[in-house]
């Protein structure tokens, strides 16, 4: 019997689910090994009997928690899909300012109508069994993780930084080209796609274990960024992590 799989989303752009749909174009055989019972972005059926839940999006309202906990209760495995679910992502930038200011900025005089709280990764609310990093996720990595989960293996998410993949691609270093990059402290697995196209890494896949953040700040400053610019860059996707560190 094929394991039943469902996709869910919270606060996000749904780009990671779109990448899943996209990955089916080249890996249609995925449907031979799993049965998708719920996937709002791709189908109208809505089954509630699932074993593996892929969850996109960060949790930004108290009301979201009940739904996420219900998913957790049903699913044997919960997989965070993409930067918002994995890290809090760009939604967590709002955590850096007072919440009332943020609500007023976005909703003006109607701000009291909209419930919100500090954005957080789904792991801050429920236990998460695996994560697929990135903004958006890498479709090949999504397939690799699904295969590993089906084989009962640990998903092969790299613990090493983007620099490894960037050097293997023989890219010249962004810093040597006058740019800025978070590659030395950011988790690889993306194939260094941004530096390969001469755009510095923005850290969407989160930090590696034991990142040397102090050295990263020093290097960015040495190459001409101000302290504010350094912090803006380092909190683009990782503001939740940074606000936790600040506590």
């Amino acid at each position: 019997m094929k394991p039943k799989v469902a996709f869910f989303d919270f606060t996000s752009c749904e780009g990671c689910q779109l990448t899943v749909v996209d990955s089916l174009q080249t890996h249609l055989d995925l449907l031979d090994v799993v049965e998708i019972v719920q996937f709002r972005e791709a189908m109208s059926e809505r089954g509630e009997d699932y074993a593996i839940a892929f969850v996109e999006g960060s949790i930004t309202r108290e009301a979201d928690e009940a739904r996420l906990k219900q998913i957790r209760e049903q699913a044997a495995l919960v997989v965070a899909l993409g930067a918002c679910a994995h890290l809090g992502g760009v939604n967590a930038i709002k955590n850096l300012a007072p919440l009332d200011d943020v609500r007023q900025y976005v909703y003006g005089d109607k701000h009291k109508w909209y419930e919100t709280y500090a954005a957080r990764p789904i792991s801050a609310v429920v236990k998460v069994d695996a994560f697929i990093p990135g903004c958006p996720i890498d479709r090949e990595e999504f397939i690799r993780v699904v295969k590993a989960v089906l084989l009962g293996k640990k998903p092969p998410i790299p613990d090493y930084p983007v620099c490894v993949e960037c050097k293997l691609k023989e890219n010249n270093c962004m810093f040597h080209k006058g740019g800025f990059c978070l590659g030395p402290v950011t988790r690889a697995g993306c194939g260094a796609i941004c530096p390969t196209y001469s755009d510095g890494c923005e850290g969407c896949r989160g930090a590696i274990p034991n990142p040397n953040q102090d050295a990263m700040k020093d290097v960015l400053k040495e190459h001409g960024l101000t302290v504010d610019e350094v912090m803006a860059r380092m909190t683009m996707f990782n503001a939740f992590d940074a606000s936790q560190l600040g506590k």
Binding site: H27, P161, C163, V164, C173, K177, G183, P184, N212, A215
Partner: protein, 341 residues
């Protein structure tokens, strides 16, 4: 073996002729530098390149290489038996590849490496000037080479002197190039050029490379490792760009139905968290300081002792260029030398 001459105008036809019969890999320009790549047109080759991000060892040990494919009860090795010419190798990288030849042939020979090596002809190139402020080939005695190549080119104004190192090189030259026996005047110019080049390469290391094993032997407990460890990202760039690193990781890629797959190897780095982590979760080298020390021990001592006549560092300077926090062999070794002055 012997010394031949190719006129400069005959070099491109030589490259083009080789391309008819071999995959020719040589230095080509990329956005701000150079890299070794398969030539699709002879005019792409840049023999005046200074250095590349990753060394030409990738021709013999590809960054990622399938070893075998498997199904239930079936295993089929994968070999790439293409005939290749590796063109424009600098002598630092040539010395490194001679070390790799020894490392992969020793004990149980590495079949994949050995087969690639056997189908690769190396045409190396004499450096007549220093590449930049990071190289220190002079101290590592890799500024020139007398063996290890099939052919070796030395540019002398309007012509190239060609040192023929092997019969394979001799055949390559005879079959694909227009060349002649060096005249007395050409040999004299070669001697003059070779003796004049030495002064163009500054001495950067405050000891001879041959003394590194002794220096590293007394430096295991140096406080320097903790000091540089604080700056280190553990990003592994130094390993990936190193011509003498040869560690690789082995991974499987399994088909969707789980019934077949491929085993491949991919370059690894001793600076990464997971390199010395074992199944139980223990890590033999927990900190950046421990990993850096290990790397410098490999480069300065362990390899030289394991493979007599070879060195773990050839002074190419790639790791110094790649390091964003200025951890360099010249800096580290000079500092250790200073401590034992």
């Amino acid at each position: 073996m012997s010394l031949k001459i190719i006129n400069k105008s005959d070099l491109m036809p030589f490259v083009a002729n080789m391309m008819g019969e071999y995959e020719v890999i040589g230095p080509v320009a990329n956005d701000i530098g150079f890299k070794f790549a398969t030539l699709t047109d002879a005019s792409q080759v840049r023999l005046n390149y200074n250095t590349t991000v990753i060394p030409p060892r990738k021709t013999l040990l590809p960054t990622q290489e399938t070893l075998f494919s498997f199904q239930k009860d079936m295993l089929a090795p994968t070999f790439d038996m293409k005939w290749r010419v590796l063109l424009g190798v600098h002598t630092c990288d040539l010395h490194a590849m001679c070390m790799l030849d020894e490392a992969f042939a020793r004990g149980q020979p590495d079949t994949h490496y050995m087969k690639r090596r056997a189908t690769t002809t190396i045409v190396s190139m004499e450096c007549l000037d220093t590449c930049d402020e990071n190289s220190f080939c002079k101290s590592m005695n890799t500024l020139t080479a007398t063996s290890g190549f099939d052919l070796h080119l030395i540019q002398l104004g309007d012509f190239y002197a060609v040192d023929v190192g092997t019969t394979a090189g001799e055949a390559l030259l005879a079959n694909h190039a227009k060349s002649h026996e060096a005249t007395r005047a050409e040999i004299a110019l070669l001697d003059k050029t070779m003796s004049q080049k030495w002064s163009k390469f500054p001495v950067r290391l405050h000891l001879d490379g041959k003394d590194l094993p002794a220096l590293m032997g007394v430096s295991y407990k140096s406080p320097l490792w903790e000091e540089v460890g604080k700056r280190c990202f553990g990003c592994g760039s130094c390993n990936i760009v190193c011509p003498t690193c040869y560690c690789f990781d082995v991974r499987d890629e399994v088909s969707m139905d789980g019934k077949s797959g491929e085993r491949y190897r991919i370059w690894d780095s001793c600076q990464l968290d997971e390199f010395a982590r074992i199944g139980s979760g223990e890590n033999f080298r927990k900190t950046h300081a421990h990993r850096l020390r290990h790397r410098f021990m490999r480069k300065g001592k362990y390899i030289a002792e394991a493979f007599p006549g070879h060195q773990g560092c050839v002074g190419c300077g790639r790791c110094a260029r790649a390091c964003l926090v200025d951890i360099t062999p010249v800096g580290v070794w000079n500092s250790l030398r200073q401590d034992h002055a």
